[in-house]
């Protein structure tokens, strides 16, 4: 069995167990806390990572550390960033609809998410700025 299959199987089972636990706790009326959501996020992240990337030993897919892998990560990061901004926008809309006034925290988060990318681009651009003299 290839390393990728082992990693996918182990992280998949872990993600399933955590998800089942969260669903069970919700169904039985128990509180869902930060630890539950953080664990679910972490195991899902590991599962998706194992599912996506191949290994050098088995030559079974694009590797995260090679050129095409880095390009995929770059492009996905930007798409992910815009999707996250969209999710926050939707959350602001839902919050306003539910409470009839927007949450200051969510609005601040939306504003921050809209300026983060251009700001980071500006910081990076400065590294390549040509000397003027």
């Amino acid at each position: 069995m290839k390393i990728k299959h082992w990693k996918t199987a182990i992280t998949g089972v872990a993600a399933f167990i955590v998800l089942t636990t969260v669903i069970y706790r919700t169904a039985t009326g128990k509180d869902i806390g930060f630890n539950d959501i953080a664990s679910l996020g972490a195991v899902t992240l590991l599962f998706l990572s194992a599912l996506t990337w191949g290994t050098k030993e088995d030559q079974d897919g694009v590797r995260e550390d090679e050129e095409l892998g880095r390009r995929i990560t770059e492009q996905s990061s930007k798409v992910g960033y815009f999707l996250l901004t969209l999710f926050i926008l939707v959350a602001v809309g839902i919050d306003q609809w539910a409470h009839e006034e927007p949450s200051l925290l969510l609005l601040s988060l939306l504003g921050l998410s809209m300026v983060t990318l251009p700001f980071i681009e500006w910081v990076h651009m400065r590294k390549y700025r040509a000397a003027e003299d």
Partner: protein, 68 residues
């Protein structure tokens, strides 16, 4: 950017997997380059040209777009 990687690779009797191994990338990367889905970086282009024993000019065809 067009390339002749597949043609030259097959002439030498090298598989995609073997070329990938020689260039330290995955087979999928070589496949994407051969099918014009991905343009390699300069170091990777050099690695491919060395593996196929040709120059970069013999491997890639770049047509500059007319600015007008």
């Amino acid at each position: 950017m067009q390339n002749r990687i597949k043609l030259l690779r097959e002439e030498l009797g090298i598989s995609q997997g073997k070329l990938a191994e020689l260039c330290d990338v995955s087979r999928q990367t070589i496949n994407a380059i051969e099918n014009d889905k991905y343009d390699p970086s300069l170091p990777l282009a050099f690695a491919i040209s060395q593996a196929l024993e040709v120059t970069i000019e013999q491997l890639f065809l770049y047509e500059r777009k007319n600015p007008n």
